[in-house]
Symmetry: C2
Subunit: 383 residues, 2 copies
C-alpha cells in the first residue's frame, strides 16, 4: 500500500533538525541493495527552479536514467538561496557515501520556504542515521517526513501480473507557509528500460498530477520520480501504463482532497472544444478564476460567471449552443438560463462542473478546489 | 469636474425600479440638443457579451460613429437572458422617442447580475422621466445611478485650450453581487472626427482602464464611450490625446482604489522584458496570482512567490540577473536574496512592486489589489 510495497525497496523517515517543531523532515527511498536501477523523473517547468531540481535532472542525464535512491527534505525548499545547488549536491554525496553508490546515482527533492539558506549541519548528522534506519516497510515513515501542511500522508499501490507499483506523495498548493510544492516518489519491481520508463511516467503525469489546479501556481520544486528495479520481471506494457496511471491518479486526488483551506473538490470538464489545447485552456481558466472559485465556496451555482470566463478564455465557442451543467443539471444553453435549479449539486462537498463549448469534439478535465477564507489565512504570511 | 463639464451636454439619474433598495438605477448622458455627434466606443472582448454591448456596437457601426445619447442601467446586466438584445434595443427606442433622434443614435449600457431577465416595465416608465429631468449639471446624478457596490461615485475632468474632457465611471471588479463590470462615459466639446476619436479612445483605454487587474475576470458588459460635440472647436491632437489619457487614468485609479474588499493598491511593473507582450504577460500573471495577492494582504514581502510566478509566466527571463523590488528596496537578485528588508514597504496601503527580467528593454505596468476575506465574502454568493 505504499512506496515499499514493491519488492526490493527500502525507505526511512526521521527528524534531523530542519523543522523547529521537531516533526519528521528527512526521508529516503532506495533500492534494497543500494545499486542503481532504471529511473525516470518529471520536474517543474518553472524557470526559477530549485537546486534539487537542477541536480536531479543533471544526475539522471549523466547516468542515462539510472538511480539508486532519492533523499528528500521538508521544511525548506532549498531554492533561490545562492547555495542551493551546492547543498543539494552535498545531500546526494552524503547519501551515496552511506549507500555505497556513486553520488550521481542519488536524486534529491526539497519542499518548504523559498529564499532561506538550508543549513547543512542537520543533514550531515541526519543522512547517515537515515540510511542506517531504512527498512523494507519504511514507506509510511518516509511519507510522513515529506509532509508540510498536509493533514494526512498519501500512499497508493497497484498490483500487476506478478509485479507492483507503489508510491507516496505530498500535497499540492494551498500549502502554507510553504510554496505549493508537490512531490511524489514511485517504485516498481517491474522491469522497464529507462527510456520507456521516462515516456510512460511523462504520459501518466500529464493525465493525473497535471490535472490538479488548486491556485494556478507552479512551484519551483515540483518533482515526480519513478524507480524500476526489475526484480519481478517484464510487465505487459499496456497493463503497466494503466496501473501507473491509477497510482498517479490516486495520489493526485488525495492531494486535491487534502488541499489546505478548501471546503469543496470540483472536477471541471470542458467538452465540445475544437482542440484539446482549447479545452485545457478553458478548463484551467475556470479552475483559476477567483470569481468562479468564490462561488464554489458559497455553494452558489452562478453559471453567469462560468459563462463569462469561458467567453474570455481565448477559445472557440458557439455562443448559441454552449451549455453549462452542475452535476447532471444543465443550467444554461446558449446565452440563456434553462431555469433548472442546481442548488443541491453546488451544496455538495464534491461535484462536477461540465461545460460544452459546442464547437468540436475535444475535451479536458481538471480537479480543483474552492477559494476560502482559510486559503488566504494560510497564505497571507510566511510566518 | 464631471461628464457634464464640457459645454453642450446634459445628464440625469433616477430610480426606476430595478434595484429593490430604491437606489438610483437609471442614467442618461446626452447632447443638449438631442442631435447626434461623433462618438466612439471600446467594448469587452468577452465572446459571451451582453445585449447592450451588441446593440451599442451595431448602432455605432450603422451610424459610422455618431450618437446623441447613452442610456445606462444598474442592478441587472441584461446579459444571457435570451431577451437581452430585444430589451437593449427597446431601451434605445424609448430614449430616442423622448430625445427626438433616431433609435440607432442611442447607445446603451447595463451592469448587474447575469442571467436574470430585465423587466421592461420600469424602463417604460422611467426613461421618459429620465430624459425630461436631464440638465447641464446632471453628471453627478448620472454617476450615482450607475454605481453598484462602488462606495463613491467617480468623476474626472481635464481642461485643454478652450475645450474640456469630462467623464464618469463605475468600478471594476470585486463588485458583488454583480459581475466585475466597468462602465465609463466620457464627453468633450472638442471637435474630433469619428475615426480619429475611435483610434484615440482605443489608445487611451489600452494605457489606463486595461491596466486595472483586480481579479483577472473580464466582464460581459465592459464599455467605455466618448462623445465629441465639437462646439469648442478643433483641439491640438497631441494635447487632446494626453488629456484624454489623463481623464481615463484618473477614473481607472479611482476604480482600483474603490475595489470592494481590498486593503491594498499595488502597482506591478515588469521591466527588462524582451517584448512588451512578455512584460504584459508577466505583470498580469503576478496580478492574478492567488499566492502573490494573499501575501499583499498579509503585508508580507515574500519575493519567493513573485519569483516562482515569474518563472512560470512563459516569458524570457535571465535567472541570474532577475531582480525584485518592493518600492525602492531590491529584495532579490538572480536566484538569491539580497538580505534587504522590505517589510515597511509591504505594510503600506499603496506600494509598487518592480520586477526586472534582465532579458531586454520592454516594460508594462498594471494596477491591482490584494486578496482579502472581504473579497470572498462579496463574491461567494449572488444573494
Amino acid at each position: 500500500m505504499t512506496v515499499t510495497s514493491p519488492k526490493g525497496f527500502t525507505a526511512a523517515g526521521l527528524h534531523c533538525g530542519i523543522k523547529p517543531s521537531g516533526a519528521p523532515d528527512l526521508a529516503l527511498v532506495a533500492t534494497a541493495d543500494g545499486r542503481a536501477v532504471p529511473a525516470a523523473g518529471v520536474f517543474t517547468q518553472n524557470l526559477a527552479c530549485a537546486g534539487p531540481v537542477r541536480v536531479s535532472r543533471q544526475h539522471l542525464a549523466a547516468t542515462n536514467g539510472r538511480a539508486a535512491a532519492v533523499v528528500l527534505n521538508s521544511g525548506n525548499a532549498n531554492c533561490a538561496t545562492g547555495t542551493d545547488v551546492d547543498v543539494a549536491s552535498r545531500m546526494c554525496e552524503l547519501t551515496s557515501e552511506e549507500l555505497g553508490c556513486a553520488s550521481n546515482e542519488v536524486l534529491v527533492c526539497s519542499t518548504g520556504l523559498i529564499g532561506i539558506p538550508l543549513d547543512l549541519a542537520p543533514l550531515e548528522r541526519g543522512i547517515p542515521a537515515l540510511v542506517a534506519t531504512r527498512t523494507d516497510d519504511g514507506g509510511p515513515s518516509a511519507a510522513r517526513a515529506i509532509m508540510t501542511t498536509d493533514t494526512v500522508s498519501k500512499h497508493a499501490v497497484a498490483e500487476g501480473d506478478g509485479w507492483t507499483i507503489g508510491g507516496i506523495a505530498k500535497g499540492a498548493a494551498m500549502l502554507a507557509p510553504n510554496m505549493a510544492t508537490m512531490l511524489a516518489v514511485l517504485t516498481t519491481d517491474a522491469s522497464v528500460e529507462p527510456d520507456v520508463l521516462q515516456q510512460t511516467l511523462r504520459w501518466a503525469v500529464a493525465g493525473t498530477f497535471n490535472r490538479v489546479v488548486v491556485d494556478g501556481c507552479t512551484s519551483t520544486n515540483d518533482t515526480v520520480l519513478l524507480f524500476a528495479n526489475g526484480v519481478a520481471g517484464r510487465p505487459e506494457p499496456v497493463a503497466f501504463e494503466r496501473k501507473l496511471h491509477d497510482v498517479c491518479r490516486s495520489l493526485a486526488l488525495q492531494m486535491v482532497q487534502d488541499a489546505e483551506g478548501h471546503t469543496k473538490v470540483v472536477s471541471i470538464r470542458v467538452e465540445g472544444a475544437t482542440t484539446s489545447e482549447d479545452a485545457e485552456r478553458a478548463a484551467r481558466k475556470l479552475a483559476t478564476s477567483l470569481l468562479v472559485k468564490s462561488s464554489f465556496y458559497g455553494s452558489d451555482p452562478y453559471w453567469g460567471r462560468v459563462l463569462s470566463d469561458l467567453g474570455t478564455a481565448g477559445v472557440a465557442m458557439d455562443v448559441d449552443s454552449v451549455t453549462i451543467a452542475y452535476g447532471d443539471v444543465v443550467v444554461s444553453k446558449g446565452l440563456a438560463p434553462t431555469g433548472a435549479d442546481a442548488s443541491d449539486v453546488a451544496a455538495a462537498s464534491t461535484f462536477a462542473l461540465t461545460c460544452n463549448l459546442g464547437a468540436g469534439n475535444a475535451s479536458y478535465e481538471v480537479w480543483t478546489n474552492d477559494l476560502s477564507h482559510a486559503y488566504i489565512d494560510e497564505n497571507m504570511t510566511t510566518s
